[in-house]
């Protein structure tokens, strides 16, 4: 999504392997620019006044302020989780600015009114804010430093009754919907970062698909942290009513900075009877330099509630960025016959650390879930899969299949698997399989023999290895994700 123009134009040359290599080796982290636009940042630190300020700044109703304050007070009682297989340097939560918004004129009526520098940023990123991109049929909500900047295709979607807007607009325009669903899947008491997000979230996307509507286009949100010393705390809320369908894409980048930036988001999804939601992420936050300096801390709580019968939620993620990833997109399968899916490729290089996986909580009878997780570690990175499959005592006839594979590309990296399987019902069938290995000499030799250099061969093999997950991504995303894989692994061979 981020780089579609270039993808389109280079497509005919795609077979030219030299071009691919140039493309790959040419850029280390191509999204590492900062944009010089007016940003409205509040002083660093967090207290009740900051929470009140954010709420007032956004002109929020009383109930939302209450929600934030409750979350903040709860957050004060919590300590950061330490159970993950991650080495997280102590974070000074008072050294972060909790609100940074690009200054834009109020309610831009058209693109002309948006700060040209901002538009320039997005065109650098290949975001489909301009007319040409509208032809690609992707509706985009761009969130920069946690404030939603521009939502495209809104009118077209409105005809079908689909609501796709920033969450702050939704609070104003559809307060009863937001109030009904906000915090229902991820309550503010859920965990440390969820509480923090609930207190200070500045914006995010809101999607509501009414009964029986199949959303005609893919909805997409693009996140970018721009200002220094800020954290990004966005919140996404997706509701698919009975028989609805939506495919939602999310992309993330950040500029290159020496200091670490914090990203603590919440994604909540509610899936009603027979509805289906497909959520795809290509996460490419700045991962730090080769010595592991800088990079984004990505501590995200994502959870979907399949509360309708025969509802379906599918998570697909390609994780290539972030210095530290702590992320477990989960499905609570409470409807009868609900289906949860999780497909993940997590790549770590240099000094990146990732502890990611999923939770499949089977509460309803005949619920099914599939987990396919592919980890690739290189350099000095540590890559862990951590997942929970739980079958409740009353959930009869549940089925789960889990497959976690790890690929090791250096002798200094680590790949770990921590699955938790709790079966409290005797009619369940739960399977888990995990393997760890490196690319075999034979495969490399075979490629070399046919004139494919080692670096390219590794890229080829890795792409083949990740294919099972890549295939689940929407087309444009898959192309981008494949390139990202190669960029992330660049220089990790030999």
């Amino acid at each position: 999504m981020k780089d579609m123009t270039t993808d389109k134009t280079t497509k005919p040359e795609k077979n030219d392997s030299k071009n691919v290599i140039d493309n790959v080796t040419g850029n280390e982290y191509k999204y590492g620019f900062t944009t010089d636009i007016d940003t409205d940042i509040i002083p660093r630190g967090l207290n009740e006044d900051v929470v009140r300020f954010i709420s007032a700044k956004k002109g929020e109703p009383e109930w939302l302020l209450e929600f934030r304050l409750k979350a903040f007070r709860h957050w004060l009682t919590l300590t950061p989780p330490e159970w993950a297989h991650l080495d997280i340097p102590e974070i000074d939560f008072q050294a972060i600015s909790y609100y940074a918004a690009p200054k834009v004129k109020e309610n831009p009526k058209s693109l002309d009114e948006v700060d040209p520098e901002l538009l320039d940023t997005f065109s650098k990123l290949g975001i489909s804010l301009d007319e040409q991109k509208k032809l690609t049929g992707v509706a985009v909500d761009a969130v920069m430093d946690s404030v939603s900047v521009k939502t495209t295709h809104r009118d077209k979607l409105a005809e079908l009754g689909v609501i796709f807007c920033s969450i702050s607009e939704a609070v104003k325009d559809y307060p009863e919907l937001v109030q009904k669903y906000l915090g229902k899947v991820v309550p503010y008491t859920d965990n440390f970062y969820a509480a923090l997000n609930s207190a200070v979230f500045s914006d995010g996307s809101f999607v509501y698909i009414p009964k029986g509507v199949r959303c005609p286009m893919e909805l997409s949100t693009y996140f970018r942290i721009n200002a220094a010393g800020t954290g990004q705390f966005e919140r996404t809320l997706i509701v698919a009513d009975d028989d609805a369908y939506v495919s939602y894409l999310e992309g993330c980048t950040a500029p290159m900075r020496d200091e670490n930036q914090l990203h603590a988001a919440i994604v909540e999804i509610i899936v009603e009877d027979r509805a289906e939601v497909k959520y795809s992420t290509v996460q490419n936050w700045y991962a730090g330099d080769k010595q592991g300096r800088g990079g984004v801390y990505n501590f995200v709580t994502k959870r979907g509630l399949c509360r309708g019968d025969h509802s379906k939620l599918s998570w697909t993620q390609v994780e290539t960025g972030s210095a530290i990833t702590w992320k477990y997109p989960s499905c609570v399968l409470s409807g009868e016959g609900a289906v949860g899916e999780f497909y993940s490729v997590a790549v770590t290089n240099n000094y990146q650390q990732a502890d990611t996986g999923t939770k499949m909580i089977h509460l309803g009878s005949n619920t099914r879930s599939t987990i396919v997780s592919k980890g690739i570690s290189a350099g000095h990175s540590q890559n862990s899969y951590r997942g929970l499959v739980k079958v409740a005592p009353k959930a009869n006839g549940c089925r789960n299949y889990t497959q976690c594979d790890s690929l090791l590309l250096s002798s200094t990296c680590g790949a770990h698997t921590f699955p938790y399987i709790d079966v409290l019902n005797d009619t369940a069938v739960v399977e888990h399989e995990a393997t760890t290995s490196k690319i075999s000499e034979d495969q490399i030799f075979y490629c070399n023999q046919r004139g494919i250099p080692t670096e390219e061969a590794v890229g080829l093999i890795v792409n083949g290895y990740a294919k099972e997950v890549m295939n689940k991504l929407p087309m444009e995303f898959a192309v981008e994700a494949q390139k990202l894989l190669q960029i992330t692994l660049e220089g990790s061979v030999g």
């Binding site: 790890s406 090791l408 200094t412 399987i421 709790d422 079966v423 005797d426 739960v430 399989e433 995990a434």
Partner: protein, 459 residues
């Protein structure tokens, strides 16, 4: 639930008040570690369900009731040698009996042992072979683990097995642990196994309880030190009572080319937690770790394995199988850790579980931690039921459902039993498992102990 701290305080108090008696009734090599154990236990708690790795079994709760400890080493009058013949037909073993925690050799045991081989009381041998015991006692089991520290604090006796260089024991050693006491009793016992280079030994341990109604608590630490190219088999069969709690911790360290087989079988128990901690610092070492649990009623079986590869080219294979019935709970946590530099490691782990009733629960957590690239590692875990089609097939051929179920469950356990490297024992175990599934087994067949189920006795 009692607070975790309380369950530990009672033991610390016991130690501080009876320090002199505990030391007097033990050996200097064992006493030497007690002060250190005590300092480790101060300001700590026994692992409970909030402790990572102990989510399903609270050791604190296990140790919470007020058990008696036989500090004065009073001889509990049990004529074990006469009443207890836990023999395995077809194989002859060198038998030793441990009542609670004190070792009683059979009359002729000493004559049958090979020169230089030690198979006897840890306490006695700690005086006669003080150097050997002092060198190895506590060398593997870390006092940082509160359970190990508590065991070290109160342990007064146990078993020492020493096999000198190049000695290969022809007959397996057999150890029968019997709980016998008129009052609730806690036993803190210790098994120390030292195999010199090229030595070879096999050990069969059976756990029993004399009285099914009495409350017993066993805290057991087994340390196995293996020299180069040594071979050691350990078969640990628990066949106790629903009122027995057991926390067993095995720590093994393998030198180059050594081969270790550990097979832990839980047939009858109350609450059982087994920890297997195996280190492979040597190269080309091989480990087979197998486990089986058959749990019914309200039994609870928790196995925790951690295999750490630090040497090159070593292999490990883990296989754990559970059949959980009624309202029983099973838990398994297995870890493989491949340290940086442990090249060409092959490590596999498999956990298969059958849930046989609606109240049965199974928690499993297989883990891989790999810090190296030239390895082959995998793990697999499944939880499910008997294959419906297989059941149907058998029923359609006139086998009643209950019988068909038993047959399939027996077949399910076969590959765990097949890891046993003593043919006679293998057969015996098949028999025991079959009986266990048929519900007839309370204790292993032919032994004449009073712990026998009346039904079995008549057979």
């Amino acid at each position: 639930m009692s607070t975790p701290v309380n369950s530990l305080t009672q033991y610390i108090e016991l130690y501080t008040t009876h320090k002199a008696d505990i030391n007097a009734n033990s050996a200097p090599a064992l006493n030497a570690l007690r002060p250190q154990a005590l300092s480790q236990l101060t300001d700590t708690a026994l692992p409970h369900t909030d402790t990572e790795g102990y989510e399903r079994t609270s050791i604190a709760e296990m140790f919470a009731p007020d058990f008696g400890v036989n500090i004065m080493r009073m001889n509990i009058p049990v004529d074990v040698a006469a009443s207890f013949r836990c023999d395995v037909p077809n194989i002859s073993t060198l038998l030793g009996i441990v009542v609670n925690d004190s070792f009683h050799p059979t009359a002729t045991l000493h004559n049958k042992l090979h020169d230089g081989v030690i198979f006897g009381s840890l306490c006695k041998n700690a005086t006669t072979h003080s150097e050997l015991v002092a060198k190895h006692y506590g060398s593997l089991a870390p006092l940082t683990n509160p359970s190990v520290a508590l065991n070290t604090l109160l342990c007064q006796d146990g078993v020492l097995i020493y096999v000198p260089k190049s000695v290969k024991l022809e007959k397996p050693l057999q150890l029968v642990n019997i709980f016998s006491s008129p009052a609730p009793l806690a036993a803190f016992r210790r098994i120390l196994v030292v195999l010199e280079d090229d030595a070879e030994a096999r050990l069969l341990i059976c756990d029993h309880a004399q009285d099914n109604e009495q409350q017993y608590l066993a805290s057991q630490v087994i340390e196995v030190i293996m020299g180069r190219n040594s071979i050691f088999d350990l078969y640990d069969i628990e066949d106790s009572s629903p009122n027995t709690r057991r926390h067993s911790m095995l720590y093994a360290s393998q030198s180059d080319g050594s081969n270790l087989l550990v097979n832990g079988m839980t047939l009858e128990c109350g609450t059982t937690r087994n920890d297997y901690n195996i280190q492979l610092p040597g190269s080309h070492a091989e480990t087979t770790l197998a486990g089986m649990a058959i749990a019914s009623g309200t039994q609870h079986v928790d196995n925790n394995s951690q295999v750490t590869h630090t040497g090159c080219s070593s292999k490990s294979n883990q296989l754990f199988k559970y059949v959980i019935d009624d309202n029983a709970t099973g838990a398994f946590e297995g870890g493989i850790l491949v340290a940086p530099g442990a090249q060409y490691t092959e490590a596999y782990q498999s956990n298969r579980n059958l849930l046989a009733s609606t109240g049965a629960r199974m928690h499993t957590k297989p883990q891989l931690e790999i810090y190296n690239d030239d390895v082959k590692c995998s793990h697999g875990a499944t939880t499910g039921q008997l294959d419906g089609e297989a059941l149907f097939y058998m029923r359609s051929r006139g086998i009643p459902e209950s019988e068909a179920r038993t047959m399939l469950m027996q077949a399910f356990m076969t590959d765990v039993i097949d890891t046993v490297r003593i043919p006679g024992l293998c057969e015996r175990l098949h028999y025991l498992v079959d009986k266990r599934f048929q519900g007839g087994l309370r204790q292993c067949g032919s032994c004449g102990s009073s712990c026998h189920d009346t039904k079995t006795k008549q057979q």
